[in-house]
Amino acid sequence: MQKDINSLDELIHDPSFINWVLQSDPADVQHWQEWLEQNPEKIPLAEEAALLVKGISFRKKQLPHTAIAQSWITVQTIIQEKSKKKYRFDTVTLRWAASLSLLLIGAVILWLSFYQKNLSYTTQFGEIKEIGLPDGSNVILNANSTLTFNPATLESTVRKVHLEGEAYFHVVRKNLKAPVKFIVLTENGEIEVLGTQFNVNSRHGKTSVVLNSGKVKFNAEENQNTMLEPGDMVEYSKDSKALTMQKVDPETHSSWRNHKLKFDDTSLLELTRILEDNYGLKVVIENQDLLQEKITGEISAKNVDILLQAVSKLFNIQVNQTGKTVYFN
């Protein structure tokens, strides 16, 4: 015999042997009968194997298809309900939601900081306001003036503010990688600085800059620009396109910030300008010669009445006030 079978395990997995047990293949039946005749000592083993192969025949039951379909629907319903509930507590979803909302909040903050509306400070007649800028610089805004800036850009690479009227700037130096410029935009040109103190007056189509300390560059239109040294006053008007420069006492031009008016050979004409610009008064002078009268000195400018009294004394003129109109005689 070609086969030497020794274990139960071999027999129960032998398809030919299974066929013999189940009497399903005549050739196999014959083969195994011969084999058993030749190997009678294997008969008990073959009987044991046959016992396992034959086994027990059971009547197998099949559930009706409708029952299986019904239970499938139930399972699907439970899964759907579970997934709805799970949605609330699913950590992955929660994480996504959290990061998405964080992104959104970040985007809103960024958007707000970049597209933040310009901040605007305006002073009334006779009012002086001190404004601390986000970069640490200080601006004293004279009466009847407006300072506008974007807080976000003040913290970036170029600091820019827009001025209408008069203001005294105390710009602090700022270094990121390179010194950060501070630019004051006026109707008639811009003042470019790094860190310094200066006065800017931009009224009646004319901008005048008086430098107290440091160094500034005044840029008028069309490449007209000039560097200012302390004590320099530069004036420029769009109409005449003339850039004039002269030496002045800087304190005279910025004394207003301490609620004082300092005069150094100042004419009444200039004073009336101040009264009109800063206090909103309308000055009426019958005697035009008076306008050329000049004075030197200092008067308190906190109170209009006291100021007018002082003017009256200094110029030796009579001052009458009716509402917002002042008569000098």
Partner: protein, 206 residues
């Protein structure tokens, strides 16, 4: 019942969330799992509940499941574990509705399951059922999985968490027991016939 092809691709598709694959697995195995559970729990309600949980959990945890080359033994193993758990929880919660005696004791056979050559011999069925149900739990389980479900020895070993050789040993023990009983029964029948013949002879000659 023909053994179903062990389809690793079907399982992979299911794991990826393929509803059709899930439905196919369900249709292929629901019947087998149902009857196994029914044999163990003897309760249709518990069985339906148990299978619902099995498939719902299967779907919810599909991403965490390992790759399975043969689905049927895998499902049987999972079901077997669930049935054990139910029996424990039934013990702890004292749930009287679940017949504790039937739980975790392996399958219980009924006369309807039996096929005998001569269907008129009801008593043969009765005796076979009785003998089967008197076998130890594990032997009954092996018999069920082997001859009712046509699972291979290896698959049974996997399901029951025992060695391959243990499966064969258990089955062999069970079958020899049954054979003994059967032979004994035959012997008794033979004695009965002889007895009747003897009595008849005696009556005739007397």
């Amino acid at each position: 019942m023909a053994t179903l092809p062990c389809d690793i691709n079907l399982w992979k598709a299911f794991k990826k969330g393929d509803q059709n694959a899930f439905h196919t697995i369900y249709l292929q195995h629901y019947n087998s799992l149902y009857h196994y559970s029914l044999k163990v729990t003897q309760s249709k309600v518990v069985t339906e509940d148990c299978l619902q949980n099995l498939f719902v959990n299967l779907w919810s945890n599909r991403k965490n499941l390992s790759d399975v080359s043969c689905i049927k033994p895998y499902l049987f193993k999972a079901l077997r574990r669930d049935l054990k758990r139910i029996s424990y929880s039934a013990e702890t919660t004292k749930n009287k509705e679940i017949l504790l005696s039937h739980l975790a004791t392996g399958p219980t056979f009924s006369q309807e399951d039996m096929v005998v050559e001569d269907e008129t011999k009801q008593y043969v069925k009765e005796q076979m059922t009785e003998t089967l149900n008197r076998l130890p739990n594990r032997q009954r389980e092996v018999i069920y999985l082997k001859y009712y479900e046509d699972l291979s020895y290896k698959e049974i070993a996997q399901i029951m968490g025992i060695h391959y050789q243990s499966v064969i040993n258990l089955l062999f023990k069970a079958m020899t027991q049954l054979k003994k009983k059967e032979n004994l029964q035959k012997l008794i029948t033979l004695f009965n016939i002889i007895f009747i013949l003897v009595v008849d002879c005696f009556l005739i000659f007397a």
